[in-house]
């Protein structure tokens, strides 16, 4: 398929790796922000082919992983109500709540439906006027345009039985939080290509300047990732910092203006708790007052305070900040597997623990084939 095959070319991969080896003179630690990039890196084995000097640490860019436990518990409580149809992206169903996940609610007879797009949730609302259809609106700036449009359309189409449980997060605030924490050592960032497709990359320019760190907008295929790494290493080796775009076929400096306008119309910035990490100031979106009628938390105020319990074994917060690799977690591949996940990073298709498990990075410990 065009725009995929040519970015997986083995010859070009080898040659770019050779060029990288020639460019690099000292160790550098780069963080790929997005969990989609983490999966691509581990799946293609790119991290094992890179020059030894490069250490890739995996970032917090997995929306399922950082959705706070409190909201997962609220989702479970809502989905358990007989008057609610709960709709969600599929990845959220197995994410452990304090005592159960959405899948368990569904198994116990709750009406929990997986949707591919938030527009599908609107369709469910249209067909079931006697129920409240709650959509779990999670994600980064990549899903925000879709989720915002669903709310806008619900209002425009008079779908009063639609509500959104909103847990949106944004990348620049997370980069700031990482750079401000004293013990995180990152020399450069590979920024998430699809977040930048929506938001552009102008927001990163003051960050690169402030922290004197190169930030390279990077795509998702092996050649894209190598291109991003190469650009980042060149900047570092030359002592430069700035924002570069290694994903120009999809990203412009301004991003997608009409998507930004709809996000702005529906959402406003707010402090948000990130699972395993804690509250990051101004790091999320919530619905604006104008759309309060579609806010599931306001519509069901009784779900406001739920006591949460996180697994004491799980170190996913450290994994999400690039401080630990998944296989450094004592529970990895033992108490914690995709069938018995202790943390969200083992569940999500973008979670680092799931990537390590799925692509056999637990062989050392368990001596099994990783598939």
């Amino acid at each position: 398929m065009k725009y995929l095959d040519e970015y997986r070319d083995a010859d070009l991969t080898r040659k770019l790796l050779a060029d990288l080896q020639k460019t690099i003179t000292r160790p550098w630690t780069l963080m790929e922000v997005c969990g989609g990039q983490t999966h691509s890196i581990i799946r293609s084995g790119l991290d094992r082919m890179l020059p030894r000097e490069i250490s890739l640490v995996h970032g917090p860019g997995c929306p399922v992983c950082v959705t706070p436990l409190e909201l997962v518990d609220k989702a479970v409580a809502l989905a358990s109500r007989p008057d609610v149809i709960f709709t969600s992206y599929g990845d959220m169903l197995r994410v452990p709540g304090s005592d159960r996940d959405l899948f368990a609610v569904k198994a116990a007879g709750g009406d929990v439906r997986i949707v591919y797009s938030p527009l599908d949730a609107l369709e469910v609302a249209r067909k079931n006027p006697e129920k409240t259809v709650v959509f779990f609106a999670i994600g980064f700036e990549t899903t925000a345009p879709a989720n915002a449009m669903a709310v806008l359309q619900a209002k425009a189409q008079g779908l009063a039985n639609f509500a959104a449980l909103v847990s949106h997060v944004v990348v620049p605030a997370a980069i700031t939080a990482l750079m401000e924490s004293a013990d995180v050592k990152i020399d450069g960032f590979l920024a998430a290509g699809h977040v930048c497709t929506v938001m552009g990359f102008w927001e990163y320019e003051p960050l690169a300047e402030k922290y004197k760190i190169p930030i390279v907008v990077t795509g998702f295929e092996p050649i894209d990732l190598l291109h991003g790494i190469l650009d980042c290493v060149r900047e570092l080796e030359a002592g430069r910092y700035g924002v570069r775009n290694a994903y120009a076929r999809s990203v412009t400096r301004d991003g997608n203006r009409s998507a930004q306008a709809v996000i702005q119309k529906v959402f406003e910035t707010t402090d948000r708790a990130w699972r395993g990490i804690g509250v990051i100031p101004m790091s999320g979106y919530r619905l604006r007052e104008e759309f309060a009628a579609f806010d599931a938390e306001l519509r069901f105020p009784e779900i406001q305070s739920i006591e949460t319990h996180e697994s004491p074994l799980c170190i996913s917060g450290l994994v999400l900040q690039g401080r630990k690799k998944p296989d450094e977690c004592p529970a990895f591949g033992k108490e914690c597997t995709p069938q018995t996940p202790l943390g969200a990073t083992m569940v999500s298709s973008e979670g680092a623990c799931a990537a390590y498990y799925r692509y056999g990075r637990y062989e050392k410990e368990t001596n099994r084939e990783g598939r």
Partner: protein, 82 residues
């Protein structure tokens, strides 16, 4: 969940007042909303996330980037041979 994938636009239409399309992900055809790429034409490739096209892939930029990477490759080879 939010993996964006390139998809080729094969049909354009309107539904519920929104610009929609049938898009082809290398053989799998799905519906996607085109409200955020109003200038889209049949035959364009778009990045689709959770049912919404977020960008139209820029063929010229793609070509130029690829040429640049191949040049690196050529230089790299010279370097090795020397």
């Amino acid at each position: 969940m939010c993996l964006g994938i390139p998809a080729k636009v094969i049909e354009l239409y309107e539904a519920n007042g929104m610009k929609m399309a049938k898009v082809d992900f290398g053989g799998v055809v799905k519906e996607a909303c085109m409200e955020y790429v109003p200038e889209v034409k049949i035959g364009d490739y778009t990045i689709v996330h959770v049912g919404f096209a977020l960008s139209i892939l820029d063929e010229k930029e793609a070509f130029e980037t690829m040429e640049l990477l191949k040049q690196i490759e050529a230089l790299g080879e010279e370097g090795t041979a020397a």
